[in-house]
Amino acid sequence: MSDAEITTETLTGHSRRTFIKGVIATGAVVSSSSHLFRARSLSASATVRASMPRMISLDVNGVSRSVDVMPQETLAMTLRYKLGLTGTKLGCDRAECGACTVLIDGVSHYACSMLTNAVRDRSVTTIEGLESADGTLHPVQQAVIDEGGFQCAFCAPGFIMSMVALTNENPEPTREETAVALSGNLCRCGDYNKILNSAMRAAEYARRMV
């Protein structure tokens, strides 16, 4: 393939993001990706739920989805690499940075530090599940856009999920309370002031909607 052809193909709309998502989808069809994750076969054992079913159904963003998970798989891995929900970011993978924040039954959790198998009977909401069916943005998303809340925005999905949790729990947060509620999310650009502005505006938008 010549350089010219590559350029043409790039221009016809194959962005890096759609390419990666395509790869993820293919992987999900082929399933298991065992060369990547080195699953150990589960030895049959007589005790409680010894050999767990690999195919489980997960309630993600209101849709029940079947997915093949390993016992040691974290929710962030499942969301990103099995379900293609790459809005949930992996920053530290150590429950420190908050980029992987999702809501489980409406409560914020670090998806990098919980086993997918532990959320089987619970409802998971990711950043992809915030906008309504007609495409209307969640008040928090709208507030972040209106305030220009983020610089590089890698941390944004996590922050936005924390803001959603906050507006659900505390409709009229003070700036101080907001800072505490967002203390589990880190922004390496140091954009905290604008992020707090966004959160305050988000609470205002959410109040107006009720």
């Binding site: 990547l36 005790t47 040691q72 150590r94 429950a95 670090y110 532990a118 589990g184």
Partner: protein
């Protein structure tokens, strides 16, 4: 800084729905690991430093969750989230010090997922040990943190015995001050430990933080009514205003009458491999006025005999002042 590798090494996962089932699984297998919130555990797994063959996840054991009345006190399931402990009206109104301590653990996400039991039995944060260095605690024959050139600003100033790591559990000090009891089950039955005896230092067993042995399960924490509604003092000092482990913390329950201290129960944490109950100080302040003089004397006594390492001598005045403020009764 963590490196994202592929995934945790494989293990067999069990999700029992009762304590009996959990104990059964633990008894039948070797190299097991009990997973509560998982926030401490998964760091170990991801770093390949602890590699269990069998993980028992307790999220489905409903009998381990919840806060209920027990006699004149409370009984809190070990799997109750820190968020629920901090938000509980019963805990806040009668044992406020525990709610305060739970509310200052880490971040909202961690409190939403982390449990009271998990917070109590978390492993130490010594980074030599955490980094996989073969120290005494990891089964080796050296302490990397205790040498003159070590990075030991956060380590112990008292109670060292070969190992100089500290206990990092915020709720531990509060429960010692409340005279709580830890209920532990194994296939042999149930044992009850006073909170202060639940934690073990390196002089007893250098590879454990608590009395728990493989096969044991911390099921509940029982708080007696003895100190309900006392004057409580909780203060946690950390490097940042946002989330962090404590450099030192104090938890005190004090009953006063007309400005005189009738009885007190005081614990400090972050200064030793276990939370330290200050029984000498409790005896000293009994019958004394709750003022700064008493506080000064209490602080001096509390820190007598402390042996700081190369970089942590600041913890001596820090602990002294925390005890002083607790005794004289600053607004927390």
């Amino acid at each position: 800084m963590a490196v994202i590798r592929d995934m945790m090494p494989a293990f067999e996962l069990f999700q029992p729905t009762s304590v009996d089932e959990a104990l059964d699984v633990l008894e039948r297998h070797d190299n097991t690991w009990v997973l509560a919130g998982g926030l401490d555990s998964m760091d170990w797994f991801k770093d390949r430093i602890k590699r269990p063959d069998v993980v028992v996840e307790l999220g489905s054991v409903s009998e381990l969750t919840g806060i209920r009345a027990s006699g004149d006190g409370l009984e809190i399931g070990a799997m109750t989230s820190l968020r629920d402990v901090a938000a509980s009206e019963e805990v806040r109104s009668r044992f406020g010090i525990l709610a305060q301590a739970a509310a200052e653990v880490a971040t909202p996400q961690i409190r939403n997922q982390g449990t009271l039991g998990g917070n109590l039995i978390q492993d130490t944060r010594c980074w030599y040990y955490r980094g996989g260095w073969p120290c005494y605690r990891a089964g080796g024959n050296i302490c990397y943190a205790g040498t003159p050139r070590s990075m030991n600003r956060e380590h112990a100033v008292t109670g060292q015995s070969r190992c100089v790591a500290v206990n990092g559990a915020d709720t531990a000090g509060a429960l010692v001050a409340l005279g709580a009891q830890m209920m532990v089950r194994n296939p042999g039955g149930e044992r009850v430990y006073e909170a202060e005896d639940f934690f073990v230092g390196p002089e007893i067993d250098i590879q454990r933080m608590t009395v728990l042995e493989p096969g044991d399960l911390l099921t509940h924490v029982r708080i007696p009514g003895d100190w309900a509604g006392a004057r409580f003092y909780w203060e946690k000092v950390r490097d940042r205003k946002s989330w962090d482990w404590a450099l030192a913390s104090v938890a005190a329950a004090i009953v006063e009458s007309n400005g005189t201290i009738e009885r007190a129960r005081i614990a400090i944490n972050g200064v030793a491999p276990t939370p330290v109950r200050l029984t000498d100080v409790e005896d000293l302040v009994q019958g004394m006025p709750a003022n700064d003089d008493t506080g000064m004397a209490a602080g001096e006594l509390a820190t007598r005999g402390f042996k700081p390492l190369r970089h942590n001598d600041y913890k001596v005045p820090l602990a002294r002042n925390l005890v002083r403020r607790a005794v004289r009764g600053d607004a927390a």
